[in-house]
Amino acid sequence: MASSEVARHLKRENIRSLTMSGHVGFESLPDQLVNRSIQQGFCFNILCVGETGIGKSTLINTLFNTNFEDHESSHFCPDVKLKAQTYELQESNVRLKLTIVNTVGFGDQINKEESYQPIVDYIDAQFEAYLQEELKIKRSLFTYHDSRIHVCLYFISPTGHSLKTLDLLTMKNLDSKVNIIPVIAKADTVSKTELQKFKIKLMSELVSNGVQIYQFPTDDDTSAKINAAMNEQLPFAVVGSMDEVKVGNKMVKARQYPWGVVQVENENHCDFVKLREMLICTNMEDLREQTHTRHYELYRRCKLEEMGFTDVGPENKPVSLQETYEAKRHEFHGECQRKEEEMKQMFVQRVKEKEAMLKEAERELQAKFEHLERLHQEERMKLEEKRRLLEEEIIAFSKKKATTEICHNQSFLATGRNLWKDKDRKNSNFL
């Protein structure tokens, strides 16, 4: 039961096989692994892309046989938004953390050029979150809630003709990021013959436009045959319904029309059972693995290369992450130092300038002060002069006064008695 790749790998490493002489007991290893997984629980994330009203929520409800609470979206959203909801399901001892992401408003706008962008951004954001966790120093990957999209169910309108441009464009932008499984929605509106032609047309359009949809894996013996057969039946024409109708003596999920009943789980009526089989029962693990080993690795490689990390150095020598880190750090350090120098220089420059300014101001002030002092001095001198003149005048006046008094006295002495007698006579008359 040796798988060819394991055998080849072993040959390369020159590891010889041993035969055991008895029962050792490690055939329980797969069971140990499974038990560990049961304890951890599983995570599965589905992205549904399709126009409003095409039946995304109904199909998901039917697939998981439950009524996830949801209400109808309006047709009047200005742009495409993604709405994610997580549910915990349990079947016997398997716990499944299921996340359903729906596109709201897809195909409702008049200008649909950028419709796919929010979807691509959302998928990238989940990859980015995982990458960030992976690159942390203290990380906890085994408790990390993996939100990366494992499968994208792309709902195609059952026009019966061909793919819309919007569909082609969107799928082309998504095929390198996520596993795409296209489904024909509301397949009960397409007749059997039309359906065949439609499927062929769709697949040929996808192929000719180079859109890579998910292929069910055919490398494992147990599921190769059925997967190969299913690959031929893509895209699955599905009908979803949670309403039950009595058919025969059983209640089955179906859609009742005046002309008949479309049974969801009847393989003659639609491919719903095939979709459920492929999506959940046979390939859930492969979808998760492809997401991790192919799509996520591609994203990771691109992102790290963008950041400047590379596995191969300039002379084609292998370069370890550490070397790149060191080199970058060195570079960054150098730049930091350069910036520091620059800052220092600028600082010194500014200081000099300020100093010069201050000196200038000081000089001005000094000049002003001196000028004022001079003026003051001049004033003073003027005043001194004036005072001197004034004093001289006073002296002159005093002299004059003194001279006048002397003269007066002299003249009085000469004619003094007369003046006296006159004065007395005058005075005595009044007595």
Binding site: L89, S140, I280, M343
Partner: protein, 311 residues
């Protein structure tokens, strides 16, 4: 057959179910269970790996023990006393084989460490052993084993075991299965039973002898045949069950999720002190003091502030 027990996952991983994830009732099974089968198929295809290291002085029966565990000539056992000088340096020596059982492929790598330490006889653990064990337990899952247990009587064996257990407890040597990784009550019960019997007293033998009409693996001595797989004679079956039949996946999980992650943290912290900047990997400054602020930054900021001041 083998009891399908739940492997305990490493500690600190009790997954909180966030309040925003409602539990949904399905009206009927849809086949989610089939994912277990898918897992098994994938595992069988990829095969398993297991790396084991045996430590102890040569002559203790390490090679024979490994051969007995995997029932094949993993090592060509070197009989003692061949006149080969025991190597003075500690040289590690690995050998890899692939063994297959019922479609399950196991790539087994056994690493031997010749020339270490003295033979442990009826003493307590020597200081060298204690130091060695303490360091080992921090980086790898350690399962201590009493070798050549056929030289001890049952009473001596129990006494020795208790002495060793006490020694391990006193020096805080956390051997496998570590208490802190017990997930739930089932694990605790199961692992406690194991912890009671550790170190296992084992005898290795790769020859078969006829006992009571059955062909058994054993050591033939003058006074009897010690049956390796007989629980009354030695505890080899316990060791084998622990290592292979029940706890192998758990050993690998703890190595990957705990020991390797610890190593990674230490290693990344060594050469890091990476300042944040555009285009840089977002390394989590998990605890203060892990990332110390660098001087250049401080100076830069200071200069910047000064230049903004108005005079």
């Amino acid at each position: 057959m083998d009891p399908l027990r739940r492997s305990p996952s490493p500690c600190s991983s009790s997954r909180p179910s966030s309040p925003s994830t409602p539990a949904c009732e399905m009206f009927g099974p849809i086949g989610i269970e089939a994912v277990l089968g898918q897992l098994k198929i994938k595992a069988m295809k990829m095969g398993f790996e297991f790396n084991i290291m045996v430590v102890g002085q040569s002559g203790l029966g390490k090679s024979t023990m490994v051969n007995t565990l995997f029932k094949s000539k993993v090592w060509k056992s070197n009989p003692p006393g061949l006149g080969l000088p025991t190597p003075q340096t500690l040289q590690l020596h690995s050998v890899t084989h692939v063994i297959e059982e019922k479609g399950v492929k196991l790539k087994l790598t056994v690493t031997d460490t010749p020339g270490f330490g003295d033979q442990i006889n009826n003493d307590n653990l020597r200081p060298l052993d204690i130091e060695f064990l303490q360091r080992l337990c921090r980086t790898v899952n350690v399962v201590p084993v009493i070798a050549r247990a056929d030289s001890l009587t049952m009473e001596e064996r129990e006494a020795f075991r208790h002495r060793i257990q006490k020694n391990l407890r006193t020096h805080c040597i956390d051997v496998y299965p570590q208490k802190c990784f017990d997930e739930d009550i089932n694990d605790k019960i199961l692992n406690s039973k194991l912890r009671d019997r550790i170190p296992f007293a084992v005898v290795g033998a790769d020859r078969e002898h006829l006992v009571n009409g059955r062909c058994v693996l054993g050591r033939k001595t003058k006074w009897g045949i010690i049956e390796v797989e007989n629980m009354a004679h030695c505890e080899f079956p316990l060791l084998r069950d622990l290592l292979i039949r029940s706890h192998l996946q758990d050993l690998k999980d703890i190595t990957h999720n705990v020991h390797y992650e610890n190593y990674r943290v230490i290693r990344l912290n060594e050469s890091h002190l990476l300042p944040r900047g555009p285009g840089w990997v977002n390394l989590d400054p998990a605890s203060p003091g892990q990332l110390t602020s660098r001087r250049p930054f401080k100076v830069c900021r200071g200069a910047h502030d000064v230049s903004e001041d108005e005079f």
